[in-house]
């Protein structure tokens, strides 16, 4: 068996692979080896080598982009560094160099959608209620009352007062948007994510369709 020597100052000694479609990041000390896994919070899996005295062999992160956005990512780097016994800067460099662009792709996609909403959604715009199950048969409309950089305000349907929906709530729905549209994410789970789900899915559907058709 080849002996693995640790070179903690060399980021190339960390092997990083990112499955962008399933949003799973694999970080290994050198080439990945047969291991077993302990699960921690936020989808982090600590891996331990099966051979020898089970030294730490890597970290797998499920839902990496969703769980470790923005400033939280620094904390993830520190978790990996602590588990593998390498400096946190090396971990950060390895992930940035080997998977950096891909790991930010989804966040960029949401920002693009949010920018399109900011540009195309105007005060007074009517949005037809939509859901994956009923499509446009819900027989309700909402009127956009304000579009701000950090929120969108709507009123209509059975609402008794306008609802100001923060950008962060849109982000939550965007994370499961494809699954919801495909019918594989259940409506009741969507309601657990945000109390604004009815309006957000209608607005996201509106921006995904050709907005010029509804003017």
């Amino acid at each position: 068996m080849a002996l693995r020597t640790r070179k903690p100052d060399d980021p190339r000694h960390l092997n990083v692979d990112f499955d962008s479609e399933e949003d799973v990041l694999y970080v290994s000390m050198g080439q990945p080896v047969a291991s077993h896994t302990d699960e921690a919070a936020n989808g982090v899996l600590f891996r331990w080598e099966n051979a020898g005295n089970s030294p730490p062999s890597g970290v797998t992160a499920l839902d990496f982009r969703r769980n470790w956005r923005g400033r939280r990512r620094s904390y993830f780097y520190s978790l990996v560094a602590e588990h593998l016994g390498v400096p946190v800067g090396i971990v950060e460099r390895a992930i940035r160099e080997q998977a950096g662009g891909a790991t930010d792709e989804d966040l960029g996609e949401f920002e693009e959608v949010w920018q399109r909403l900011q540009a195309q959604l105007i005060s007074g715009q009517m949005i037809r209620a939509w859901s994956a199950a009923s499509e446009y048969r819900l027989d309700a409309t909402y009127q956009v009352q304000a579009v701000n950089p950090s929120s969108i305000t709507v009123f209509g349907g059975k609402m008794t007062m306008p609802a100001t929906i923060p950008k962060s709530e849109f982000r939550k729905v965007w994370d499961i948007w494809r699954a919801y549209c495909a019918g594989t994410y259940r409506r009741e789970h969507l309601r657990d994510i945000t109390r604004f789900s009815t309006y957000i899915v209608s607005i996201l559907k509106w921006i995904e369709s050709d907005p010029s058709d509804s003017k």
Partner: protein
């Protein structure tokens, strides 16, 4: 939008009503899971059996909306369970051996 991805298999797990079908994509298995978790090389059949005929399904406590599939007898040399993680879009996200169940039991 998601581009075309070759499918390794789509299976409807028997005896449960939580999911209609679970899909494992080729690139997820060959390019990521067995690369990052090489202990699963040559264990595709175990993954397939675990999804097809699970004995318990848990809801992950650490990955929102994900389900964890187990099948009794699907263990490694040390007796650790094979856990298959199925995401919200009902595709296999990853798989690995672990000594603990996790989350809340959803089925049976």
């Amino acid at each position: 939008m998601r581009s075309f991805r070759p499918i390794l298999f789509t299976i409807v797990p028997v005896g449960q009503k939580l999911v209609r079908g679970v899909t494992l994509y080729e690139n997820t298995w060959f390019d990521h899971i067995i690369v990052g978790h090489p202990e699963l090389i040559d264990r595709l059949e175990m993954v397939e059996m675990t999804i097809a005929v699970p004995t318990t399904i848990y809801e992950s406590s650490s990955v929102a909306g994900s389900l964890l599939f187990y099948r009794s007898g699907m263990v490694d040399d040390a007796g650790r369970f094979l856990r298959v993680v199925v995401g919200t879009d009902r595709s296999v996200k990853s798989a690995y051996f672990t000594s603990e169940h996790g989350g809340k039991q959803r089925w049976p």
